[in-house]
Amino acid sequence: MTLTKKSLLISLSFFIAACGSISNERASDASAVSASASGAYSDQGITSSNVLYFAYDKSDVNSEGREKIRNLAKIINKEGLNVRIEGHCDERGTREYNLALGENRAKTVAELLVINGVSSSKISTVSYGEEKPAASGSNENSWSQNRRALIKTF
């Protein structure tokens, strides 16, 4: 993880009102400062064998997904890889609730990897909720692509 921070000063005219006084009301200045971060974590290098899809509001893995997990578990164990699982949701429903739902998806996949012999110490999970959609558009076609878990190995 590379994390570079830079600060950019933007001056802003910002008054603060002093209310309540009948005869005299005044305002004063302040300023605000901006910060930024940069980092990695993209979907690059993800192939269909590393992605599982879910039904709306569900975190159950279907039989096709279980097959993918079995195959991935073999490779992970053979090559001694670490795994990062990302859970994602479609845009329907509230963002924080979806963050929780995405975690359920990631954890379900993690449990299935463990059942298939991957050590839990090699697995980390993260939920992005609905924050990183794979497809844009408010329709079932996009939504079905966004309800997913990504299994990233390294």
């Binding site: 910002f14 006084s21 200045d29 963002r95 609730y97």
Partner: protein, 430 residues
């Protein structure tokens, strides 16, 4: 020549960026019976011309939520600037309910001005407020917003919200691949980026004094809660736990954050003590508990839980940890916020598969749907309790929209920059 031209264009771009409103309030459905008010152009007694007209800023403010209809100067019969110059008859003829007049002078303090102004009740033929508003000449918009707040307060009897600010999050676009946490004046002017990151930013929440912002950033590869001081830009992550670290919500006294952690295996509501820098657990359930919001008295929290099988709104007493379910209508009720008086909640409610913003009195439990848009979320209530701004979709794009709590006025806040979401209304800044 070419170089000069491009430099000029860049300068023009920069200056227009700073003066343009990034969000613009467009009323899509107005109240039928607005209050008629006349704001006479403020008599400008300074030696240089004014860059922006105070009466125009005040007009935009008062009309922004549909409650007032402001008479333009071209319809006026006289242009008084002092109490003595006002003839009530002139304004009665124009069917004006209230009148604002005033004059601006240089202040004894360098770089400041003083505006003496008067608010008249035309029917009762009397001055209901007279005062001197002072402020920086460079920040004329702020001076005007403070006057608008006073006018609103004196006529409506509740605080004005034209000096408040709005935080929101930009969706990454082709032009800017970053997520941006922005704040602007409530009318969209003076927008700045507080924090910018290639990884998601979520759930901005203002400190009760409006000087700091708590939010979630994924810059470290996992969700983490950060606190940033607005005036200095100084930011730091709070104590990180395993799993979800999210949904920060400042306690009314500013000492604690309610938030969500999943370190016990599933998301529960926790409190973070900002001084002691430690977490304590409030809810404990194997389901999803999330989206806490402090009651104005600091005694309880609202939260969303699926413990009944579908997401519903619950209230927990922070001391006794006793939990009470508040919503019973429908199978999706989430992300609730208390009204400033603590007696109502505003939340996301799904009906016939469509997500709307709804409100209910806590006691009666009767749901009233406020919005007729779809995929509505993230409602935030004005600090005077009168207006709700929320995130919605227009032609597949993320935009902000709003509605007065009485349902009379609807508006949208399209952004000139791109798609925006997660509005968070500041407290009254004083």
């Amino acid at each position: 020549m070419k170089v000069l031209k491009s430099i000029f264009l860049i300068l023009l771009f920069i200056s227009s960026q700073s003066t343009l409103s990034q969000l613009r309030i467009e009323i899509t459905g107005g109240a039928e019976d607005p209050i008629n008010i006349a704001v006479v152009p403020i008599d400008w007694r300074l030696e240089f011309p004014q860059e922006e007209y105070l009466h125009e800023i005040i007009k935009d403010d008062l009309e922004s939520f549909g409650e007032f209809k402001v008479l333009p100067p071209k319809g006026m019969l006289s242009f008084p600037s002092t109490e003595e110059e006002v003839f009530y008859r002139d304004w009665r003829l124009l069917n004006v309910d209230y009148l604002v007049v005033g004059h601006a002078n240089k202040s004894e303090i360098e770089g400041e001005l003083k505006i003496s102004y008067f608010i008249f009740d035309i029917a009762r033929e009397r001055v209901i407020h007279k005062a001197i508003m002072s402020g920086s000449i460079k920040s004329i918009r702020r001076v005007a917003h403070n006057m608008s707040d006073k006018i609103y307060d004196k006529i409506q009897g509740i605080p004005g919200i034209f000096s408040t600010r709005l935080a929101y999050i930009d969706k990454p676009s082709a032009d800017d691949k970053n997520y941006n946490l922005r704040i602007s004046d409530i009318d969209g002017f003076n927008g700045i980026s507080l924090f910018s990151s290639p990884q998601p930013i979520m759930s901005p929440n203002w400190s009760p004094l409006g000087d700091r912002m708590a939010y979630v950033s994924f810059e470290e590869g996992t969700s983490r809660i950060f606190i940033q001081t607005i005036s200095t830009g100084t930011r730091s992550g709070i104590k990180l736990e395993k799993g979800i670290n999210s949904s920060p919500n400042w306690s009314p006294n500013g000492a604690r954050l309610a938030a969500v952690l999943s370190k016990e295996g599933n998301p529960d509501i926790f409190l973070y003590d900002l001084k002691r820098k430690n977490w304590s657990q409030i809810t404990e359930h194997f389901g999803i508990d999330t989206e806490p919001d402090w009651s104005p008295d600091g005694k309880s929290l609202l939260f969303t839980s699926n413990r009944s099988g579908s997401p519903q709104i619950y209230q927990v007493n922070v001391r006794s940890k006793r939990v009470k379910r508040l919503t019973f209508e429908g199978t999706y009720n989430a992300r609730a916020r208390y009204s400033p008086d603590g007696r109502s909640i505003v939340f996301v409610h799904r009906r016939d598969g469509v997500f709307h913003i709804a409100t209910q009195k806590i006691r009666s439990g009767k749901v009233r749907i406020l919005t007729d848009t779809s995929l509505d979320e993230s409602p935030t209530i004005s600090p005077n309790g009168n207006v709700v701004i929320y995130a919605t979709k227009r032609k597949d794009e993320d935009i902000l929209a709003g509605i007065t709590i009485d349902g009379k006025t609807k508006f949208i806040l399209p952004s000139i920059r791109g798609e925006v979401r997660e509005p968070a209304w500041s407290p009254i800044l004083d």
